[in-house]
């Protein structure tokens, strides 16, 4: 790509402590369409596409976004920034279009939501016209919580350029020589929202007259709302005018909806064990739902299987290793919770020793929502509210 004079100026005056990366050409106009409601999504996509290859080449091939790729638009709709997992550290990319590099402005969500917090925060200048990004410094959660100044007007923490570690080369060095450098400040957990309150908030924020949802309600409530993957998706769906994506009955009839499909949900035709036992009879195979998960480095499968007949509304959740014959290690747990993450009787199955499967069966009211959880936590786990 030929660079015009302004961008030649970039390399003419580039400081040795900056890193300039090319945005891969395939990422431009195609991703940005009027349907992509969000310019912020576009900028974050450019930033991620330029930086992830560098992290994979120079730091670790395992570097990946900390959220499922399909989940990222639901974050960028509301908040600027992208979390990346490298080894046991989290990097938060903070893109900005600002030409000047006077400050690093980090949205409060990445500092005060416990499960979103990062170790390092990278300051990234994005230049969409010319197709490059510039990493001009980094900071740590600990530094930001102690030194940055909080800006209530847009709920960001602002660090002056002089307070930032300006040499990007030192990030790799500190990882190699001092990986145990303290980077995070302790944080209180956010209060859990009762379901009715969450629904009221979502209803309020779904109104497109609320131009910036993240500024419209107190942060404690906002943080709790978007930390819950199911509620965040719900708000995202409503604001974009998308149909309900997590209706299990619809999945079984018409196939898995678009977003959950991107997360990995599929329908399977299965012969139930009952049908196999009476192999002489023609019993039609059953449609079940399946999702593959990566847990502690191994592939597992979560299945949702309708039990009995439609009137009874009994559902069976099963977890097993994706490889036939391999069992689930002792200590694993499969757990179901209400929408607002409350337990109920018999909601959990634990592997006291290695077992072939974990399962939980529930009877549900029409329209009831459930969240599933597994211990240990699967990679890129994000709550989803399955509606029955």
């Amino acid at each position: 790509m030929t660079l015009d004079t302004a961008d030649t100026a970039l390399f003419t005056f580039a400081k040795p402590t900056d890193l300039i990366l090319e945005i891969p050409p395939t990422e431009d106009a195609q991703k940005f369409s009027p349907i992509a409601t969000c310019y912020q999504t576009y900028i974050n996509q450019l930033c991620l596409s330029a930086i992830l290859p560098w992290l994979q080449e120079d730091f670790s091939p395992q570097a990946q976004p900390a959220f499922n790729t399909a989940a990222l638009p639901s974050i960028w709709e509301f908040v600027n920034g992208c979390a990346i997992r490298i080894a046991n550290k989290r990097l938060i990319l903070i893109p900005s279009e600002a030409i000047d590099i006077s400050e690093l402005r980090v949205p409060q969500e990445w500092i005060d939501i416990p499960s979103w917090v990062g170790d390092y925060y990278l300051a990234v200048q994005v230049e969409p016209d010319a197709g490059w990004v510039r990493i001009w410094g980094y900071s740590t959660h600990e530094k930001i919580t102690t030194v940055a100044s909080y800006q209530p007007s847009d709920r960001t923490y602002s660090l002056d350029a002089s307070q930032i570690f300006s040499d990007i080369s030192s990030l790799a060095v500190v990882q190699r020589l001092c990986p145990e450098e303290p980077t995070k400040s302790p944080l209180p957990l956010l209060p859990t929202l009762p379901q009715q309150q969450a629904e009221n908030l979502i209803a309020r924020l779904s109104n497109l007259n609320v131009i910036t949802p993240r500024l419209a309600i107190p942060f404690k409530l906002w943080g709790a709302l978007i930390e819950h993957g199911g509620w965040r998706y719900k708000l995202y769906q409503r604001r974009l005018g998308l149909p309900e994506q997590w209706s299990i009955l619809e999945w079984l009839q018409k196939g898995v909806s678009q977003i959950p499909q991107q997360l990995g949900w599929v329908t399977l035709e299965m012969q139930t064990s009952m049908a196999l036992a009476r192999s002489s009879e023609q019993i039609p195979p059953q449609t079940v739902l399946s999702r593959h998960l990566l847990i502690a480095g191994q592939a597992y499968e979560l299945r949702i299987i309708p039990q009995g007949d439609a009137q009874q509304r009994i559902w069976r959740f099963e977890l097993q290793n994706a490889t036939v014959g391999v069992s689930i290690p002792g200590g694993f747990k499969l757990r179901l919770l209400s929408e607002d993450l409350q337990p109920f009787p018999n909601n959990e199955d634990t592997a006291t020793t290695a077992v072939e499967k974990l399962f939980v069966e529930v009877a549900l009211e029409p329209g009831e929502g459930l969240v599933w959880e597994i211990e240990p936590v699967p990679d890129n786990y994000d709550q989803e509210i399955l509606r029955f």
Binding site: A6, L10, A14, P16, W54, S102, D129, S170, T212
Partner: protein
């Protein structure tokens, strides 16, 4: 430009530009008297030490530090340090105009960009890290000149609307402050700007610099959003005027005018330096610095550092070594290096980052092993300065004091 010789001169005179060239050194009388007094106060001190400009730099820096809380922009300590840093500033400006030939910026222009960083230099300088203030300042000046010139290029190809989308809130506020607006007015401008940024989104993927004026419908929406957040509603025309003014302020911010200290033809009075240091404080500070002076140990470490870094460079791949040589030695830009080595400019940036990573690591490891300094991001911030300083000096040994322009 001839370099200054006497301690008194070094801490009391300022570069004078005429027709964008060095014309003379102008001495500030008050600073000269103050410096004379200091030199007279210390006849009992070994003359070798008090002649070292570094000694007096540390002295004035400590005085400045002890007064920093009382916010004296024109304290005499700062005056002395500003005078002291005239030369490194001048050399950096000269280097820039020599490397990047262009009629878009002048020597005095670059000088002014750098010298306006003095506050930042003093605020972030840490005398305990063993840096020589002059060398630390040089790294900051060099970085500031490059960054400002790059930003000017960016700003020059943007329409006002594109520019407004591409600045940080901090830069906006600083520009408006420099333009002389009151903080109340600045608050209203910032609110208008935030409403503008929220509602005016680029429609095409790669047209952000050349953004056109928002249409009237968008202006109505911006005004509505603005009015919903304030007690004093405004109409769209006013908001548009404010934003255009802001764009002008932002552009002007990158072109600081030459301050009167360095502009002999400006006709303005020189700065009134405020001298409020208690006399006995000076005496005890001088003794204290002498006691702490670790000149010898610093020279020893310097030899070891040379060893560590020279061998680290030898261990780089040949192409990486070339890039380092071209960049620090020949002073080529990354663009020129790319042409010379027939590679993409992006590749030069990446290789340079990787090479510096390797050098930084060896230097940090040496510090860890020999000096038992534990490595963390804070330390590496300083190690970077040491590395930059070393790379500049290794390939470009400093000029001898007797050289003339």
């Amino acid at each position: 430009m001839h370099t200054r010789q006497s301690i008194i001169e070094i801490f009391s005179s300022f570069v004078q530009f005429e027709a964008d060239r060095f014309s003379s050194w102008a001495t500030d009388a008050k600073l000269r008297r103050s410096m004379q007094r200091c030199v007279n106060l210390s006849p009992q001190i070994d003359s070798l030490q008090t002649n070292s400009d570094h000694f007096w730099a540390v002295y004035w820096y400590k005085i400045w530090l002890s007064q920093a809380a009382s916010v004296q922009p024109t304290s005499i300590a700062k005056g002395h340090l500003s005078a002291y840093l005239q030369e490194p500033c001048y050399w950096e400006a000269k280097k820039t105009t020599a490397s990047f030939s262009s009629n878009q910026y002048t020597l005095s222009d670059c000088f002014q960009i750098a010298i306006s960083q003095i506050d930042r230099v003093l605020k972030n300088y840490d005398v305990n890290q063993g840096f020589v203030l002059k060398k630390y300042a040089t790294v900051i000046f060099s970085s500031a000149i490059r960054e400002t010139l790059r930003q000017r290029h960016e700003v020059d190809i943007c329409t006002p609307w594109g520019l407004l989308r591409k600045i940080s809130q901090k830069r906006l506020i600083e520009s408006l402050q420099t333009a002389g607006l009151s903080s109340t007015i600045i608050d209203t401008y910032v609110l208008a700007w935030n409403c503008f940024k929220t509602l005016y989104i680029p429609k095409q993927a790669t047209v952000t610099r050349q953004l056109t004026r928002p249409n009237n419908q968008t202006w109505e929406a911006i005004a509505e959003l603005y009015n919903s957040q304030t007690q004093q509603p405004q109409n769209p025309d006013t908001l548009e005027r404010w934003l255009l003014n802001s764009a002008v302020a932002v552009r002007n911010y990158l072109y600081p005018p030459l301050t009167s200290i360095n502009n002999s033809s400006s006709g303005q009075d020189s700065v009134e330096w405020i001298d409020n240091i208690p006399a006995n404080e000076q005496d005890s500070l001088i003794s204290e610095i002498i006691a702490q002076e670790e000149e010898e140990s610093r020279l020893d470490q310097q030899a070891e550092i040379n060893q560590v870094l020279m061998s680290a460079i030898d261990q780089l791949e040949p192409q990486a070594q070339k890039i380092i040589q071209f960049y620090y030695g020949k002073g080529l830009t990354q663009q020129q290096i790319a042409q010379e080595l027939e590679m993409k400019q992006y590749t030069v940036s990446r290789r340079l980052t990787k090479s510096r990573e390797s050098l930084l690591q060896k230097l940090a490891q040496w510090g860890q092993e020999k000096l038992h300094i534990s490595v963390n991001s804070d330390l590496l911030q300083n190690t970077t300065i040491v590395l930059e300083e070393w790379l500049q000096n290794y390939y470009n040994p400093p000029r001898l004091p007797s050289s003339l322009e």
